[in-house]
Amino acid sequence: MYAVEVEKLTKIYGSGDTAVTAIADATLQVKPGELVAILGPSGSGKTTLLTSIGLINEPTRGKVIIDGVTVADQGWLAGVDLKRLRREKLGFIFQAHNLIPFLSALENVMVALEINGISSSEAKSRASELLAMLNLGHRLQSYPSSLSGGEAQRVAIARALANKPKVILADEPTAALDTENGKNVMALLKKLAVENHSAILVVTHDHRMVEGFDRIFQVNDGRIMNENRQ
């Protein structure tokens, strides 16, 4: 079973003469444990593709299936709890880490667990464990403002992993990092994909970071132009 399946996904913004097709007939499948890149220039539609898979952006046409659950088929399916699916099956990593500034590193990870109904004490122990695993055991009480770019992105990764999601969606996770930290983050994502058996989709326009991906989808003008296996 695929972790993510997208069939002929189309997203059109606006209508009539002003309609803009951001994604047209995109089809892809990602297996658990795979690290996949969606590569393309700015405005190519890669973030639209990611947000449609991330259950944020309603597709105009086509199907989206997450971990065997069909969530969209010509629009969101009635009766599907998108928030719950996002909580339980998806993890997000952002370009600018998006940590909550008034929470410590530990609390930033805990909040994702508590939102998912995990008790505070269990959330604390799981969050501490995760951060320790990402070599941040000494930064548990640090606020995002005192973390380096690399550290903050690792906390964001820990938050995305907290609920052991089937799919992790990363939007330009290395854009705000220098080359070395960017490579470290990509290596970490590769390791986590294998260890946690999660499908990881990374949107990037940075060709320097494409090493280590299992597959690369090249997106241009809203279409998946080709797929490269590495």
Binding site: T47, L50, T51, G54, I56, N57, K83, R84, L85, R86, R87, E88, L90, F92, F94, Q95, A96, N98, I100, P101, F102, L103, E107, M110, V111, A112, E114, I115, N116, S120, A123, Y143, R159, D171, E172, A175, A176
Partner: protein, 400 residues
């Protein structure tokens, strides 16, 4: 995890400063309420301390506080003889302003019959008046020392005792002297005025050719004596005997058509509805304006704080947070700000209310009511922020 508290902890400087500002505003609102209650307490202070059932005043007047009233002192005997009256006592009131240490010094002078009632309600230092003349008991607020002398009219009066917080309806502190002293101060003419008055009567009578000189001299003496009499008071107060019917006693006194017997309830209405009504409305209006300003400020603060957290809210929504978590964060912050601001305002007034020039009366019911109003304002104000937060799309978390 309480996100509202975490946010406040992180931005505590901003939160504390905002709460202090709002607290000062609420302090003013609390003090306005206290001044309003104080107006009532002041207006009724003498009335309550006198503890009379009936105030007999000049007919067609709302005396002795709202209007001037002059009646003969010896009416006390006639009032006392009315069936149902247990005791009656004459009282004289006047507002006096003198110079003291180069500054205007204003107080309310009460003259009372040393053998009757209506005197100082309680002596907190020194003693009560014992001599018929030249002794005074002053309210503490007059800031006089025991033994200090104060000149009123043609004589010096020695402060022999201090009483608690007795003030006139306009908030001036009260002082007590014997009735005869008060009458002297209020009505006694100086020697030049008496000589002048006597000369005018003699001159008028001289022009009456039908009057023999001996009769004219006798008449002049009688007329002068009447005019120079100080045995006038502003009211005679009466207490009823147990079981006596107030209405019946009032009706009996009313039969003497030059008098008006006012019950304590009627006197209360004259004082509260007539004398302080405008001040009450003014204060009420100020309170409404200040509470509206508070509501606008809280709304603005909560809205600005929500705008600052748009990315946080979008991130929370993206990771699957329920709306109640976000609504709870905004609402709790708003309520907490209200609670802290209220506490600061209340604490401020509690520490300073005795230093206000006018009496501040803080009543538990008013304070509870205001607290509820503040909480309602905070809840309504938070809707502005909540509305904004609920419109935030999770997609706003993406991008740089």
């Amino acid at each position: 995890m309480n996100l509202a508290l975490r946010d406040i902890r992180y931005h505590k400087g901003r939160f504390i400063l905002t709460s202090i500002g709002l607290g000062l505003l609420l302090g003013v609102v609390i003090s306005m309420g206290g001044i309003y209650r104080g107006l009532f307490a002041d207006a009724l202070a003498v009335l309550n301390h006198t503890n009379a059932d009936i105030w007999v005043v000049q007919q067609d007047t709302n005396g002795p506080f709202a209007e001037s009233s002059r009646i003969p002192e010896d009416l006390k005997y006639r009032i006392k003889a009315v069936p149902g009256v247990a005791e009656a006592s004459p009282l004289s009131f006047q507002t006096i302003q003198i110079e003291r240490s180069g500054k205007p010094y204003r107080f309310f002078l009460i003259g009372y019959d040393l053998n009757g009632f209506g005197g100082p309600p309680g002596i907190v230092a020194g003693r009560n008046i014992r001599q018929k003349h030249y002794e005074m008991v002053a309210a503490k607020a007059m800031k006089l020392r025991i033994g200090e002398k104060i000149r009123l009219g043609q004589h010096d009066y020695t402060v022999v005792g201090l009483t608690g917080k007795v003030v006139s309806a306009s908030g001036d502190p009260a002082a007590y002297v014997s009735l005869s002293d008060a009458q002297q101060i209020q009505f006694k003419k100086d020697n030049d005025a008496i000589r002048n008055y006597r000369a005018r009567i003699a001159s008028d009578l001289d022009r009456e050719p039908t009057l023999p000189p001996a009769q004219a001299a006798l008449l002049a003496k009688k007329l002068s004596a009447g005019a120079e009499s100080t045995h006038t008071v502003n009211t005679v107060v009466a207490r009823l005997a147990p079981g006596a019917a107030l209405k019946k006693v009032q009706q009996r006194i009313s039969r003497w058509n030059h008098l008006r017997p006012i019950s304590t309830q009627e006197q209360t209405n004259i004082l509260t509805k007539g004398m302080i009504e405008k001040a009450r409305m003014q204060l009420g209006l100020f309170r409404i304006i200040l509470l509206t300003i508070s509501a606008v400020i809280i709304s603005l603060i909560i809205y600005t704080s929500t705008i600052d957290k748009i990315k946080v809210i979008a991130t929370l929504k993206l990771i699957g947070s329920q709306n109640r978590v976000i609504i709870g964060m905004i609402l709790q912050q708003s309520l907490l700000m209200g609670v802290i601001a209220y506490g600061i305002g209340y604490g401020l007034i509690l520490l300073t209310y005795e230093k206000f020039p006018r009496r501040i009366v803080l009543e538990a019911g008013d304070l509870r009511g205001l607290f509820v109003i503040v909480m309602v304002i905070c809840t309504i104000s938070s809707f502005v922020g909540i509305r904004k937060a609920l419109k935030v799309e999770p997609a706003e978390a993406l991008g740089g």
